[in-house]
Symmetry: D2
Amino acid sequence: MEYSREIELKGHIIDSGIMTQVFDAIMEMGGNFEITVFEIGKKKQDESYARILVSTEDETLLTEILSVLHRLGARPPVIEDVTLAKAEADRVVPKGFYSTTNHPTLVKYGDEWVRVEAIEMDCLIVVLPAENRALCTPMSKLKTGDWVVMGDTGVRVEPPQRPREVGTFEFMHGTVSSERPSETVIRQIAQEMRDLKARGGKIGIVGGPAIIHTRAAPALAEIIREGFVDVLFAGNALATHDIEYNLFGTSLGMNLDTGTLARGGHKNHIYAISEVIRAGSIRDAVDQGVIKKGIMYECIKNDVPFVLAGSIRDDGPLPDVITDVMVAQDKMREYLQDIDMVIMIGTLLHSVAVGNCLPSYVKTICVDINPASVTKLMDRGTMQAIGVVSDAGTFLPMLAKYLHD
Amino acid sequence: MEYSREIELKGHIIDSGIMTQVFDAIMEMGGNFEITVFEIGKKKQDESYARILVSTEDETLLTEILSVLHRLGARPPVIEDVTLAKAEADRVVPKGFYSTTNHPTLVKYGDEWVRVEAIEMDCLIVVLPAENRALCTPMSKLKTGDWVVMGDTGVRVEPPQRPREVGTFEFMHGTVSSERPSETVIRQIAQEMRDLKARGGKIGIVGGPAIIHTRAAPALAEIIREGFVDVLFAGNALATHDIEYNLFGTSLGMNLDTGTLARGGHKNHIYAISEVIRAGSIRDAVDQGVIKKGIMYECIKNDVPFVLAGSIRDDGPLPDVITDVMVAQDKMREYLQDIDMVIMIGTLLHSVAVGNCLPSYVKTICVDINPASVTKLMDRGTMQAIGVVSDAGTFLPMLAKYLHD
Amino acid sequence: MEYSREIELKGHIIDSGIMTQVFDAIMEMGGNFEITVFEIGKKKQDESYARILVSTEDETLLTEILSVLHRLGARPPVIEDVTLAKAEADRVVPKGFYSTTNHPTLVKYGDEWVRVEAIEMDCLIVVLPAENRALCTPMSKLKTGDWVVMGDTGVRVEPPQRPREVGTFEFMHGTVSSERPSETVIRQIAQEMRDLKARGGKIGIVGGPAIIHTRAAPALAEIIREGFVDVLFAGNALATHDIEYNLFGTSLGMNLDTGTLARGGHKNHIYAISEVIRAGSIRDAVDQGVIKKGIMYECIKNDVPFVLAGSIRDDGPLPDVITDVMVAQDKMREYLQDIDMVIMIGTLLHSVAVGNCLPSYVKTICVDINPASVTKLMDRGTMQAIGVVSDAGTFLPMLAKYLHD
Amino acid sequence: MEYSREIELKGHIIDSGIMTQVFDAIMEMGGNFEITVFEIGKKKQDESYARILVSTEDETLLTEILSVLHRLGARPPVIEDVTLAKAEADRVVPKGFYSTTNHPTLVKYGDEWVRVEAIEMDCLIVVLPAENRALCTPMSKLKTGDWVVMGDTGVRVEPPQRPREVGTFEFMHGTVSSERPSETVIRQIAQEMRDLKARGGKIGIVGGPAIIHTRAAPALAEIIREGFVDVLFAGNALATHDIEYNLFGTSLGMNLDTGTLARGGHKNHIYAISEVIRAGSIRDAVDQGVIKKGIMYECIKNDVPFVLAGSIRDDGPLPDVITDVMVAQDKMREYLQDIDMVIMIGTLLHSVAVGNCLPSYVKTICVDINPASVTKLMDRGTMQAIGVVSDAGTFLPMLAKYLHD
């Protein structure tokens, strides 16, 4: 007895590697296939079209294979409306729910294709029938009675296709190496940033305290002042040490301009936090003239919003830090809705958190001294990620320089 | 014009390297010294005694040098009572407050030496005059009107001294290398754990999700079941993937027993969380027979408390996760009060957080595949830390084996 | 004006990713294409066939694109004989020479397809007209008057195709992570080794001194004794410390069974070398009963050949070490001719050297604690490489155990 | 029964940490001690003097402890002449030979103190009685009949003492971290280099091919042109890719100015080597105008000698490469005799090789992206080593800039 089902694929499915992944998946999972229609895009700009009959000896396996192919953009030739189920309790997911990818996604509902809003991976899709809307919903926000999309039926995924023209992101994507021409890479990232800003795009920075410890804060402050940053995602440590450096010249007690441990410097970060608490908030401390320069100062002065998310290793923390991580996550999501590029520097925790909430089409640049961190961040099923193994303390000053030139 | 002050040092100050650090500090900071008394411990068991006249050309510098020497255990020959100041507002530290080390500390108050409770580094000391108590207090818990210890006067620090007999912790301490005899090191750690349990000591585990991904969970579950663990510090990821593995055989969708990606496995961790939410809590899920084995199961069954601290990259999270990081930090502190050894495996975030709250005399073992993480964790001014650069997936099964033998 | 040329591709070109790479290359280099024929392999076992017209506006560019496609297995529909040129001097390559890939390669000469012997990458092909042979020749061995293959004409490359059935090497290939189920991976490697030996295959080990320092030597010695190793590639350090350990219980002076520094142990490796020099060679030292166990002992006793290649950081060296690196390289090549699998452990230098000489169809397993080393070794244009980020000191004992089971 | 012996120590033995190490060693090895005389240097500039009676219950142990203490500079109050033994065969060391440290060393012979020439660690001392000379001799150069120093008797080691004033090397030494102010550190290294050159000192560079791949070659070429480099230690890869870059703009086929793979670029390094072979040597290629810029060009033009040492992974190699590693090692030794500072960048192999041949008083700066490499290189029993975890591609341009300023 054999079970089979036909699916179709459309687009630049060969050079985007999608056909390769489809065949891979079927064979790895133990299925068979027959290609029933194959119209190859003859020229560079042409799209291809394939129809494939997938077959197995086991019905469950067939469903499983189709579910994997679905995530690669495969769909049945005729598409029905999505199946919905009601959430029985807050945060309890219905068995068989559809789990999102980070690619643009549509659902067919009432015979119409509705784009899923705020797509990110590993979430549910909740349909609002009255409003004809579909919302990408993390399980933490699922409410009793929500209408949840079940299975793959009626869901269409649009994985990123290889662009016809090649830019910085395309030729570098996928490799992580410390053996690339650093200055050339930095110059090209600067160019991408300038191009994107010229087009009115939005750039987010995710930064760790290594930016301060390596004394790259003046460079980042300059980049913010010059208008290249639209939002900053960081934690208590980056903000605290930035303020510490600007109040006392130290970071974790080390005088950054001499490289020596400052006398009594171990107390400076506590004083920095305390001064901000006394003022009320970072904005208040800037307004009152307590903080006079630095990353946080430039954010306030240039109206660049920031999300400071708390972590269990925080001292203090600063009054601006959101100590509830789920609240912080939501705040991050707000600012990520219309972002075009994210540059992640020297923080695995915040970078993974931001990366989880990003659609696959957002350009991502990951800079870290540890190649394993870069590798981990790169793996987002996208052609829009560049990994740079470098030192924040030399990378950012050079980036600032090339943003000028 | 010259400013000078005499200090004294007592104990195994030469072989513990304290004299070296004292001279280092004075010279690095630009001071002078004259040794007025030096009685060397003639034999192995004898303590030494030194009296040193520190002098500078600048009064501030003298204070700064003395403050550094103070942290090494130096003290004036005659000690006055501590100076106290009132905290003017919640979380606002008085200028000139005394900032703690992680070494055992006493304050002289009402002419008596009072031991500071719950010592950890980078905190303030609050004196409760009525109760004759002194509390180590993170700035986040400072309240208006608290009596805060100011400056070094009346404070005595007792840095760890080199033990006369050499154990595992002594001969290995301080070095981080992947080129040590792994099995020998693991055998000795097992021996230390057994000795410590035989003496009634308490062991905490700090663990990251790599324990699950590398399939070391069965080994850790066994170690818990056999009574070697008194408390577990982890995050949502470790608990979620542990439960995912035990419900579905996968971790982040990878079948850990075959190393292949499970079909539809990407949803498993969401189901795992959802099932626990449905049950109410991890304990409820165990009681209801939903979770039948694994790390969390053994914790519940053997009454081993756990603290699951939230982070911004959490999916879900599980209902047992404390999403407010300051609340989680406090919970961690509770369980660290009487701990004797902490083993940190595969998590920089939780390990740093726990490490920050530990007194210097607690034995610490840091295991990570990344030598930079191990180095970072080791630097706690203690002779009680061992760094092991190894793979959780092979380390824990071998440790479990040697705990049996 | 447009320049164009037709090429054809045959085989499992879609699921092996070859079509994707072909389109990628054309577009990245700025060419155009039109697909003139495309017969897709309808079922899993069927091969596909494509004919593609590549066009550019620049003749040089066309040649360059075709040269890249050639390396992916593309060829003109009609193939002429290779073009040959005479080498004008020893080690001086003719301009326009054909540079080899590490894939199986054939040249058309005298209207016949001749397989290139001893293929490895970055070499020349020298044709021996009288013998109808073609030899892959490193530039160091090129002699005046040798007939060198020029350009791509008449050369056919056979890149590896995705196997229809999936084994350990296929599902793991390409990813480097420390977050995989270690024991499961090791069990599968053991299985692959046993299967390969059962089929009469040959396994080579490339090992660094970390094997000894982490005390994995007894495990490797056992693996050799049990017949799993056909040749050992190493340097002076591995052999010296192996012998040091077996004579004195130390490696670089550290007692591996206690983890402590042995008294006077810093001289042991010098003594070890000296004793072997006194005996004459490692074989002599084994025959005379000086060396009684260990890796080198088992090699001698089980007639496993070894190549000890010198490096500039060598002490001694042992008399068996080949101090001229070009001679050592040739010796390595000899033993690599009919090897089926190579396991590289804890040495970047020797692993890269061996990897450079390997055809792409040889299975390769790279084990290192440093993910950057593993990544570097993995990138060989092959589906036959597995990277394992682990600790030699726990990996090898576990591998030995699973080879028994 | 107790065995005992008196030793004495002199110098800045407390703040240099020597007393700490002496007591550590005795206790770790299970001995006892009694301090018979202790005169502490009362002021900063004063030296201390200690006399210690070491005792054990076992005669062998006593000898072993004394041998360890000897390496820390301890010596018997009365010193006899060295004991000599004749080497029985080439490269066969006499049992009980004295193995050198990398500290300045003197031997007492004919009642006179003779300084050991060309000191480096893990060697023998050969005395030439007729010439009243003592030579540090690697075992590879030991000849039948050489007079070899046996045991510690008559040997005096002078371990480095903590300088009274603190410079860059002192305050940074010993720590390896990627979290230091990069630009500040680089500025200070530049200052040290300028100071050293102003005093007529000599600087050596040890460099790996990452310098070329990260496009730092123009910066290093400039540093050489400006006279900061006295000798270059490298391998075939650095020289080949430097020449490749200067002939073709690529390194391993990557166009370093665009970051893209050059068409046909994989052959460029072979061509580069071939062109040099055709010319005769690197000097010939420069003289004939083949090579017109770059690191090797500047070495030739500015008469900076270089040692290119072969390794088994070499392609080619260039005619200037010394393929016999023992010959290369000797050549390196020649140039290291009067060097004052060595900067090691991006190569573990060559850095360890050079480091092994260096006396402990030579200042060493290790720059690598991998903290584990830096840690390994730092551990030379010296206060004269700085580790920098950074990216060659950003480090060298910044260093060049600060050498100008």
